[in-house]
């Protein structure tokens, strides 16, 4: 009930914006190729629905594979760096610095190395996704309750039990905040990857429509990207609700 109440004001804001936009484009008579009206965009979406469905499916698939691989990489890095403090001090600072390298800048290099198949695209998404997951998880693993740790040690717990029963469950909420960031990044990564060269996907569709000056279709593509990002984000939130238990929700 309350979530409906909270969703109402922003929904009204969006409706007002769209109405204002429609009004402006109609009254000013601005060219459609420059700024299409909302109704132009809806028409474009309807005209293109078959092509759009195909491209959306392709991008969704790429996003999910990339997101999965990125999360797996991030968790693996976090666990390894957590369990091996020696490796951690040697690698963690480099990892942070490496984030200053824009993915867009190395993407062409990936194409040179890995060709035009799915491999370079997955690597792009992994590169943008793994870092927030790794950092958030590592942080959560390292900040578990020292009092509970003492209790467990005095009760005879070994390192494996300390990890599985204390550190990992403790890290779950922090891990999920990393996952939420990565969820949004993953769609962005997929679009960039498709710009690099692809025969399908919303990213490739955008490149073509840009050359054709079809702003209306570009708007449709942007809307789809936003919706995709929201869906992946929603999936993560759902998973969080199912796994993170027993904390005060405030």
């Amino acid at each position: 009930m309350t979530s409906v109440k909270r969703a109402l004001p922003p929904a009204i804001t969006v409706l007002l914006l769209i109405a204002g936009w429609q009004l402006y484009t109609t009254l000013s008579g601005i060219d459609t190729w420059l700024l299409p009206s909302p109704s132009d965009i809806l028409t474009a979406a309807a005209d293109q629905r078959e092509a759009l469905a195909r491209h959306t499916l392709a991008t969704a698939e790429l996003t999910l594979y990339g997101f999965g691989a990125g999360v797996a990489t991030g968790l693996f890095v976090a666990v390894v760096l957590h369990l091996l403090p020696g490796v951690r001090v040697a690698i963690y600072p480099l990892l942070v610095i490496s984030q200053n390298v824009p993915t867009i800048a190395i993407a062409p290099l990936l194409v040179v190395w890995l060709g035009f198949g799915i491999a370079p695209k997955l690597v792009v998404i992994i590169l943008v996704c793994f870092f927030p997951v790794a950092v958030a998880t590592l942080d959560g693993l390292g900040r578990s309750d020292a009092l509970i740790a003492d209790y467990m040690l005095m009760s005879g717990a070994n390192r494996r039990q300390l990890f599985t029963k204390l550190q990992w469950p403790h890290a779950l909420p922090t891990m999920f905040s990393g996952l939420k960031i990565a969820a949004t990044y993953s769609v962005l990564g997929a679009i960039i990857a498709e710009w690099l060269g692809s025969d399908k996907g919303i990213g490739q569709y955008m490149i073509i429509q840009k050359s054709a000056f079809r702003a209306d279709r570009l708007f449709v593509a942007i809307a789809i990207v936003v919706i995709l990002a929201l869906v992946v984000f929603g999936l993560v939130v759902l998973l969080e609700k199912l796994t993170v238990k027993g904390r005060r929700r405030d």
Binding site: Y151, M154, K165, K245, G246
Partner: protein, 245 residues
């Protein structure tokens, strides 16, 4: 007969900070022993040494004839230290789980014995402080160790609840005799519950007095009004506060 706990010549320092100095403490099987001492004297540190998370600078600790190491005591920490993501019954069986097999059925039975039926599936944040301490106590009790180490279990409670918990602890202990080492700031509490009371000095902690409590069992709360009890309490209070007799 081997003692449940035998501490001889125990000293411990954290770097330059001398915390414990030449302690001798014995807990017989089935005996209830208390330690009273000023805040910061090193009582919790003693438990950490007995529990094997620190290695003493000098001296020896034996638990049931075995050199102290991790996993030999049932421990109740100063703060309940429950896992917020585990239900109450899952928290209660944590020590058992670490040792091998968790007995959920027994945990549920005990939860109802201590007035927490209906809370087995709740989470720690849904319980009051006193309830959380009962859970931490059960977790120690159900670890099935011969020696229970309880670190100021009732310090966070108001006087009323504390009285209730004393009654409750004595009942459980009289029905399940274990060796208990109990830390408190509260002299009356120590005398009411224990067979033997050790009084610690301030840091570095030494034993300044070992008192054998002369009251029988089962013990009733009104023992605190006994003239001998009052005298003993006066003497220990003077010892702890350092005022002349």
């Amino acid at each position: 007969m081997t003692e449940a706990l035998k501490v001889t010549g125990l000293s411990h320092s954290f770097g330059d900070l001398e915390v414990l100095k030449d302690l001798d403490i014995t807990v017989q099987k089935g005996e209830f022993v208390s330690i009273v001492g000023p805040s910061g004297s090193g009582k919790s540190t003693l438990f950490h040494l007995v529990g094997g998370v620190h290695t003493p600078t000098a001296g020896a600790i034996e638990i049931n004839g075995q050199k102290a190491k991790r996993g030999l005591i049932g421990y109740m920490p100063q703060q309940p230290a429950l896992m917020p993501w585990r239900t109450i019954e899952k928290n209660v069986v944590l020590a058992q789980e670490i040792k091998g097999k968790a007995d959920i059925a027994a945990a549920r039975e005990w939860l109802s014995k201590v007035g927490l039926d209906g809370f087995a599936d709740k989470y720690p944040h849904q319980l009051s402080g006193g309830m959380q301490q009962r859970v931490a106590f059960l977790r120690a009790l159900l670890s099935d160790q011969e020696l229970l180490c309880l670190d100021e279990p009732f310090s966070a409670l108001d006087a009323m609840t504390r009285l209730e918990m004393h009654r409750w602890l004595l009942d459980i202990w009289e029905a399940n005799r274990r060796a208990v080492l109990f830390v408190t700031h509260n002299i009356e509490e120590a005398l009411l519950l224990s067979d033997t009371v050790y009084v610690f000095s301030s840091r570095p902690a030494t034993v300044i007095e070992k008192v054998t409590v002369p009251f029988g069992r089962p013990r009733r709360d009104d023992v605190v009004d006994d003239p001998d009890f009052v005298k003993l309490r006066r003497r220990l209070t003077d010892l702890l506060t350092g005022s002349p007799r």
